[in-house]
Symmetry: C2
Subunit: 690 residues, 2 copies
């Protein structure tokens, strides 16, 4: 597209004042290798940096592909209009003073949006640092360096952060296909940039820094598709507030501020960086090294200590260090000195020259047991660090499908060697633990994302469900309507009935059969336990009577203002484990569905998994396997395996229910008693949007 490969760029607001942005951008365009036409524009005319200045866009003789605008905000809509008339294809607006400064700025921004939409122009910004295409020497930004050219597209909502990354790029060997600062995202947001990067042949890996995602569902769909061919790394800043509805449901309380982003990353196979350092480490490695095909790697080191630390880190990252094949091990043993170790980690000893690294790494690259290697070097007396770096680069060239990471440790003694590695696309890490973490990310990047299939909706059922919800009004849905709603979706509830007297309680208990449980029934009591509203395992008429009395008394004292429908008497259930299944409406991603450990431990361990709804039972399965409580479902300590399929189906059903009823703000099924045979919902809560 013409934004990324413009034949001509105009700088509107070009200035002869060296301190002004309009000067810096022009200088960057002129001096860093861009071959297209460059048009400085300023009503004052004259010349800047030996270039003829045009008084306006319309005064430019040829066509303009991209106009970079660095004039005061209030002038921008009119300039944009002029650009539209001229046929400019894309605007990059550096100027600030829009939405970010308040009401007046927002009005200018709205005007700008209308102009841009009318003329079908692309718009980057405003309040953007600009963009850079290192491959064609195009620096249309006020970052003063052109980063090395390579495969990483770096898209940043924060211009200054992007600028710092660019400044750091050559230190760490990061090579860029594109840098673009999103600014205020008036028309182009992270989704549009994903689409642009998908089509850009220079880009092999996409790095995103965002503080918010405008449209979570579109982002998910795009990332799922694009991530299959171009890995996406996300650094997310900012903690968003949760709404009121969230606070009154378990699912909401467990969601934290981050559940939607986590869900999207899981579903789309996006690698999420936990720090800025990791973000850059992931980007440079993914763009330069192939994926790790298995979890089996080799460590080659000239020192014991770092080898030990690397081994510890491998164990933590769930990577394994198999021995070489006996043939390769014997071959390697024959060329290494006797006191070295040909076992994995391979210790080539402190006096190793390049030849030992060559032998060991080549053996690893050729070995059927090994799919990647970490080369560790400490600068010892005779260590020819630079020569070893060159050797490793040559091995990398011979074995392009074998990922090699380096950990050359030290300062001055390894500086030159690290430059060699970085120049040739072998990432070096200053500590073995970071390298090992990145290895495990290379592994995760490989594990392919399960394809999403369209999940059929049931329009008739959905209409009935919405009618039930509408009849119930806003807020917490009552017991009876909740039951109808769940029954409509064939979600299994225990036998039971709400009663108003102890005599009725006993009657119902006898008809269900002992043992039974008793629970307060009130729309106004969210957490029944908190007010002493629950009694379990009642085995006789007398116990039911006493529980009825105890519960009504406790609720009267602890929630005196709550209107109470009565006490629910329910069947007591066979042993099983308690899980939670829920749904929650999120601002950007729509409904999320959640599964996790239920009952009293829910809040304690927050062992939960979220996905953007709807999900199929097949897609719900990985939500369960990612839980720590997965082992509980498999049957811990001689207990039978629980009915995992039933739980996966329930998650899928709840996800569909939430999507079919957009007015639902939260659903809590907690606890869900999962037994070896089936499952039952012991308590359910549905909250309708206010």
């Amino acid at each position: 597209m013409s934004l990324l490969r413009p034949d001509s760029v105009a700088v509107i607001g070009a200035s002869s004042d060296e301190h002004k942005v309009g000067h810096l951008i022009l200088r960057n365009l002129l001096t860093q290798g861009y071959k297209g036409n460059i048009y400085p524009i300023n009503p004052k005319g004259g010349s800047i940096l030996d270039q003829q200045v045009y008084a306006s866009v319309s005064a430019v003789p040829g066509p303009i592909d991209v106009a970079v605008i660095a004039t005061p905000a209030m002038t921008v809509p009119a300039i944009a209009e002029e650009c539209g008339k001229k046929g400019v294809k894309a605007l990059v607006i550096i100027s600030s003073g829009f939405r970010e400064v308040g009401v007046d700025g927002r009005a200018i921004e709205d005007k700008l949006r209308r102009v841009v939409e009318r003329h079908h122009m692309h718009l980057v910004g405003p309040n953007s640092l600009g963009f850079i295409r290192p491959g064609i020497g195009l620096n249309a930004s006020f970052a003063n360096r052109l980063p090395p050219a390579g495969g990483v597209a770096l898209i940043s909502q924060s211009g200054a952060l992007g600028d710092a990354f660019i400044d750091r790029a050559d230190v760490i060997g990061l090579k860029l296909s594109l840098f673009l600062s999103l600014g205020n995202k008036v028309t182009m947001d992270e989704c549009d940039l994903l689409e642009i990067c998908e089509k850009d042949t220079e880009t092999t890996v996409i790095g995103l820094y965002v503080e918010g995602i405008v449209d979570g569902r579109r982002f998910l769909a795009l990332a799922e598709r694009i991530g299959r061919t171009k890995p996406i790394v996300l650094l997310k800043g900012g903690i968003t507030e949760q709404g009121r509805a969230a606070a009154s449901s378990h699912t909401g309380a467990l969601a934290g501020s981050d559940a939607a982003i986590e869900a999207i990353c899981e579903q789309a196979g996006i690698l999420r960086a936990r720090s800025t350092r990791q973000f850059l480490d992931l980007l440079r490695t993914l763009s330069q090294q192939p994926s790790l095909l298995s979890d089996r790697i080799a460590i080659v080191t000239n020192a014991g200590g770092p080898g030990v630390l690397a081994t510890d880190a491998a164990v933590r990252e769930e990577l394994i260090l198999p021995s070489l094949s006996s043939k390769n091990e014997a071959k390697l043993r024959a060329v290494l000195p006797p006191s070295s170790s040909a076992r994995n980690p391979i210790d080539v000893l402190g006096d190793a020259l390049a030849d030992r690294y060559e032998h060991a790494l080549t053996a690893a690259a050729q070995d059927p047991n090994i799919d990647g290697a970490l080369a560790i070097l400490t600068p010892q007396i005779m260590t020819p660090a630079k020569e070893i770096a060159e050797t490793i680069v040559a091995i990398k060239d011979r074995h392009p499908l074998f990922p090699i990471l380096c950990c050359f440790m030290g300062g001055e003694s390894i500086r030159e060697a690290v430059s060699v590695l970085h120049a040739h696309g072998v990432p070096n890490f200053s500590c073995p633990e970071s390298a090992m973490h990145i290895f495990s990310s290379l592994r995760r990047a490989k594990i392919s994302v399960a394809k999403r299939r369209a999940i059929p909706m049931n329009a008739k059922r959905a209409a009935r469900a919405r009618r039930i919800l509408q009849a119930g009004g806003k807020g917490l849905l009552n017991e009876a309507r909740t039951r109808s709603l769940l029954e409509l979706y064939k979600i299994p509830l225990p036998q039971g009935q709400v009663v108003k007297t102890a005599d009725a309680a006993v009657k119902i208990a006898c008809s269900i059969g002992y043992p039974v449980v008793a629970k307060i029934s009130s729309k106004e009591i969210l957490h029944k336990m908190d007010v002493g509203g629950v009694a379990v395992h009642l085995t006789s008429d007398a116990q039911v009577r006493s529980a009825f009395a105890r519960i009504t008394k406790s609720v009267k004292s602890k929630a005196p203002k709550a209107r109470v429908a009565g006490v629910l008497i329910q069947q007591s259930l066979p042993p099983g484990s308690e899980f939670i299944v829920g749904a929650l409406k999120d601002e950007t991603a729509g409904h999320l569905v959640m599964a996790g450990l239920g009952g009293i431990y829910t809040e304690l361990f927050k062992d939960t998994a979220f996905r953007v709804a709807p999900v199929s039972p097949e897609q719900a399965y990985p939500m369960l396997t990612q839980l720590t409580s997965w082992k509980l479902l498999l049957g811990l300590r001689g207990k039978p395996q629980l009915n995992v399929d039933a739980l996966a189906r329930l998650i899928a059903t709840v996800s569909r229910l939430s999507v079919e009823c957009p007015q639902i703000s939260a659903i809590d099924l907690n606890p869900v008693l999962v037994t070896a045979k089936d499952l039952t919902i012991l308590d359910a809560k549905v909250i309708v949007e206010a």
Copy 2:
């Protein structure tokens, strides 16, 4: 001591061959500023590097404080003998070829040990890289650079790793009082070095890399004492294997390989680094910055994005960002431009010069709400990074008790500024997340370690306990003896009795009163649940009969070879939560005591805390507060608070029991039912060493 401040150093094995260690060490001694006498020693005589060479130690005219030995291993014992006779005070043995090469080497090492002990010499090594005292220009190692002088003593079991750290020191602003490579630790180990560092006035912070701790109890006692005045940072390499006893107990299975080290670090207030990078970051920061007195810090930044990421990281690290006092905020607002933010994080905007950093950081340093600050800088158009660095250094000098960390982000644009910061003891971090993590460590370093008091033993009771254990023989102690042992220590067990028939079971159940539980009783069945050996909440004679039949049948089929004593019928207990308390014998640290979440979730969440035994109830308390399950003890969701005191007392008792009976290899009390009123041990297992 004369090792650290020698008046004279001899190099035995001095060589004119530039590639030999004996040459490198001599050159390092001669050229890096050491003012003492230097004696090269080699039977060949002559001169090396313009120094007269002596034929032997005895030929040296004056006294020798330290002899550095770099001759073949087999010659070392005789040379050591000669040194002893000469009155040499300390030997530093670089030579390898001792224990690490097998039986022959071990024999030489044993001989060496005897010589050294006979002559009361200090011994570093063998197989050491040597040692360095930067403050007096003394480099008695073959690391070729003298690191900058400062307060950090760096003690490393791995020479090469230490060498890499020294090489990196000036890049990251790490300044050393001492570097010493432990080597084979024949007579001097990490404990001896802790004692040496305690006395060394140059040392303010101690950094240790070890792969094993020789004497865990001595290490704990020393670290507890020394850590109060000199923070200790530990980087531990290597995963040790667990013994057989461990595998057959819950406590052992939960201990992992690392429980003793974790326990020691918790008890002694040692900061444990999770990576080599963090190790160096902690050392340089602790040696250069004061502690953080509270969790309240300010962020000052010239860019929004990194400020957002730093805020996110602060939240994760449990630090808070309070507003400045209203007076200071108003003052700051008056000098900052209108669109900047005087709220915390303080955004001084992209065009900030040094003055805005000065205003903002000074306001933070003077503010009663703020106890530390992170200064973030991204290199923007006009950012005078070096001048801002100088300003920060000046603020640091004016406010020596106010910790300031920096995060100048970028590459070339900030290189000079970072050098200024590091030269003046202000640590810079390349990413805000790392800086924030180190801030939280400064905070933890401040939280003082509870003083340990001597815990009284009861010799008479101990003798009786040991008799019970002795009578039981090796392996798992039977039900009856376990009961006697626990009763001796007043550890509360539920009422109950082992029976052999269903009739007897019903009789006991009636005498205890319903409900009851039934459990298989067999010395040979470790996990009763696994063989269907448990039935709970039996409420009638019929249920007891059916449970008895079910249990015996299931055990017969699932553990047909197990000898069975009968079925234990026990009282059923009031509601409460299940915990585990245990003890475990560790090779280096002796008995450890453990507390954690019990029952079925024990293995799932591994929510446990370990300490070196014995502990007092006061010391057991923090074990409980560090658990995720602590909230369970406090009373989750309207449940009453459980009896925390009783649980703390139980932990103390179990810790004493384990120490009083050294033959115990493991104790498991699991589950321990803790109720609001008291606690009961539902199942207990004691394993005696084989």
